[in-house]
Point group: C2
Chain length 144, copies 2
């Protein structure tokens, strides 16, 4: 697959939008940053490289990137959005109900579930989200 940056340029052009310093920088930070950033943390990191970028631009850019399919927004039990650049492979999440830690994982069983469901219901599957909640190893230990 093409690099995120190339995909950004292509998608912007295709949708008649402009390539700006802010949009490139925001996607760049998102792509290299830790897996799930919220808007204000993303804003803070972006500001380390360009202090003039506003939070409003971060939100507006995130909306564009989501629309272009380059970024995905999760609300994993949180009360606010977490953003993540989309990688090649689908992946699923575990979140700790106590400390909020997120563990990503993948499993072929989801595809199996999709197949069974598609066959039984005659549907076409586009995407599947799997969210497991519970307590991580540290928090389990802490509450004993």
């Amino acid at each position: 697959m093409a690099s995120l940056d190339e995909r950004l340029e292509d998608a912007l052009r295709a949708s008649g939008r402009r390539s700006t310093t802010q949009r490139r920088l925001i996607l760049e930070v998102l792509a290299e940053g830790s897996l799930h950033l919220d808007a204000s943390e993303l804003h803070a990191r972006v500001r380390e490289r360009d202090p003039s970028i506003s939070l409003a631009t971060v939100y507006r850019t995130l909306a564009v990137l989501k629309e272009l399919g380059l970024v995905e927004e999760h609300r994993l039990g949180q009360d606010h959005g977490l953003y993540e650049a989309i990688h090649d492979e689908p992946h699923y999440h575990f979140t700790c109900l106590r400390c909020g830690k997120v563990i990503e994982f993948d499993t072929p069983l989801v595809e199996l579930i999709e197949q069974e469901l598609a066959e039984r219901e005659g549907i076409g599957v586009t995407r599947t989200h799997l969210l497991v909640s519970g307590y991580c190893a540290e928090c389990r230990a802490a509450t004993h």
Copy 2:
């Protein structure tokens, strides 16, 4: 399993909380309502039977009910919470991206995924959400 109402009484007693008209009514409405209500719609329905109940109480009660494990909050791509009384069996959702239709289903494979994950990461699983998106049979036919 005991009725929701009995479970409510038990859980409230066990946690040293009081049983109030508001709490009973809110859970009752939630239990009979459509699958996913947001806080203000829930408030509206509750008010049909007791107009004096405030939105603040709805939110406070929802927090209690969640803590007691009687109600579950979803944020399936929405920007605000949707609430649902927890029934006996876990169930998963398919939603049609075109018409919004929801199909509920169940599968033992989710449990398998939970076991694998718990073993590998040392976590304790409380609950798992599975959301499949795509196009239902009718909408697939309609777009051909």
